[in-house]
Symmetry: D2
Subunit: 227 residues, 4 copies
């Protein structure tokens, strides 16, 4: 098992691997550490074993993901930093996850940018758009009249876009993935989860394939592929 994936990603450049999600959002994998090799390292130190072949590593990772009860720590040595732009209502769900770190654009210090999510295929989109524009008009007027930005944001709907970075280990990431890629998740959040899965699969191909097979398929059923 080599660090080949990492080299490839670094050549492509962090920000360039930005995938558009929804009408004005995106998700990007900014940096990562360890990858599949770190999972193997975590497992093999327990048993003081050495890798005999790439196939043995694949079998090891799959059997660890299938194991019940799980041994989650070995998946926590692989870490990723994501850069996300999404509606506030998606960010609010996202930030309920706790085994990870967020830093978000602050509307206490920054002026909100006129950018909001517009769903498609729904009635009355024009009334929606007009209201969102009116909320930015009012926001700007209140700030001009002396409201603090942190107070004026009260008029901005949760459909407004925000952005944040998210550092998360692979175990906690898989927990998020299994909840937010789930059919029961909100459709908008799910689009981020599916996009994140595809990016993740490039840097941790063995773990991602094992996750799809051993964790995702039993949850979602045959008809619901992850990709």
């Amino acid at each position: 098992m080599t660090d080949q994936g990492k080299t490839l990603t670094n050549e492509a450049g962090g920000r360039e691997r930005r995938v558009p999600v929804l009408d004005q959002g995106f998700i990007a994998l900014e940096d990562w550490m360890g990858g599949d090799a770190a999972v193997v390292r975590g497992a093999r130190i327990c048993y003081q074993s050495t890798s005999k072949s790439p196939e043995a590593d694949v079998r090891l990772i799959r059997s660890e993901l299938r194991r019940k009860p799980s041994v989650n720590t070995i998946f926590e040595h692989a870490v990723m930093r994501w850069y996300v732009r999404c509606p506030i209502f998606v960010a609010r769900q996202w930030m309920r996850h706790r085994i990870c770190t967020f830093n978000e654009k602050s509307l206490r210090y920054c002026t909100a940018e006129r950018s909001y999510y517009v769903p498609s295929g729904l009635p009355d989109i024009e009334a929606y758009r007009a209201h969102m524009e009116a909320s930015f008009d009012l926001y700007e007027r209140l700030v001009a009249e002396g409201w603090r930005k942190e107070q004026a944001r009260a008029v901005l709907g949760t459909g407004v876009y925000t952005e944040f970075i998210w550092t998360v280990n692979a175990w906690s990431f898989m927990n998020w993935l299994s909840k937010r890629a789930d059919k029961a998740a909100q459709w908008e959040h799910r689009q981020y989860a599916l996009a994140a899965f595809r990016l993740w699969r490039e840097v941790m191909p063995i773990t991602a394939a094992a996750f799809a097979e051993e964790v995702w398929r039993p949850l979602a059923g045959e008809g619901e592929a992850l990709v």
Copy 2:
């Protein structure tokens, strides 16, 4: 050290200890465990010592809070459950704290209630009010026309009230308190922190007094009393 505080609080009844905050919000201490006695228990098991007097317990707690580097675990055996109603923009800051548990009213499943924060002493309050009313009018219309509630909430501003319960240990609570009661915190969030401090002081009087003296005063300076 006795569990007297607990008995008194239980007699008063959890929900009754609700303190109003802002125009339509509140904070309540719903349940708690351990109190000052749990802090002493945590410290004394390390040293296998026994309490010689109430004064010795007071000195112990104060010296532990003053100690640098800190020994935080002994404060984690005291746990509280709070019930909070606050604007979404306050809740968003609050839920960035991770060593604790939240469960919040869901706007995926529940219809939003027409209730929003109105600041005082600011210009253009009527335009603000009119906009917030219009956002609820539009929300209700969109839901009636077939938008999912989870999508229609995109038009509701972060000044709308939400509610949640919050279970947190005393160490993590003090971390929140020192950040959110701070002069640099948003004024609206600070009102919740100050109200929480007053309720907390009733059930953990020794730790609360030690916190005010050993942690808060060095941070805030003489002129900024906690209460």
Copy 3:
């Protein structure tokens, strides 16, 4: 759903509910908060629903424990404090669990007590005993000759008993339980898990029964009852 269980336990007194485990160990439930009622509170605030009957609460808790992916936060408002005496090799496994708080008797500050685990049904027990006694003899001699206690403990085997308190929420407790009551766990640790399950069942009967049915049985198979 009432807090009846709590009253009963408190009447019995915390420390009295100490259950012997292994030859000289024990586990006791010292304090607890919330219980089954806190799980229901956590679930119902999300949906803003009210409890229609005790049977509805039982169904709610069972369905939440069965749900995949899980909604763990609602189980985190129930918190317990345990008091444990066990061999160091068991404590080392126990303290790998991180979503909880430990305070342990310190062998930096306290002199080790001559108390060690003796397994039964194994050959050469007398040689084992003689060695453990010799290690305490040497420990005491080294301390008398000026070794710091924290250094002299290097000669004490991991079969020596330690004691600690452990504050943990019900979700993290169930995670520990499913790993340490498992057939694959070390036998000695398993005895603590089984004893803890029985004590837990007295204060959170609905959640404990649901756990045995929905989590434990699928893991362990029919033949392996929890009790």
Copy 4:
């Protein structure tokens, strides 16, 4: 700010940066992510600011570490994986830290290696050595006679060496450092903390210098340099 540090370390090779500690132990920095640049990234996304000069980044990191109350999340995007060999009594203290991940050589599955810590400058070292050798003799005999390895380890003292990998973010690492490099820490643990500081300074020079100045010096006093 560039990722120059990372390239240099990778050229040197992870395992090669192993520093001996105590008589038979070591600490190595196996992998790392983000570095000083990740701290700057975390801070600048909040304010949507851009770096004007390397000096501005240095000032930013120093002022963030000095700030009270602290904004710890920005330091959590920098992550490291360490490889450690130390006595069990040191590992037991280390693993009380919870915001991080450990995987340790398992004495359930692996046979213990005859390797133990021998302090220097203390009386009766030969009696100590003889006892440690005797404990391994007995361990091997018990295993040969049918004790499980997980039971036979009961005779091995906490001075026996273990090894583990440790993945930790820079904030949690600094917390460990301020506790374990402290004069009040056990001397043996302190040697690992001081060695780790020196390795860390190579990959996060700006944050390490700011830590030494803003966090360490106020704790330790002028006379106690970190290096």
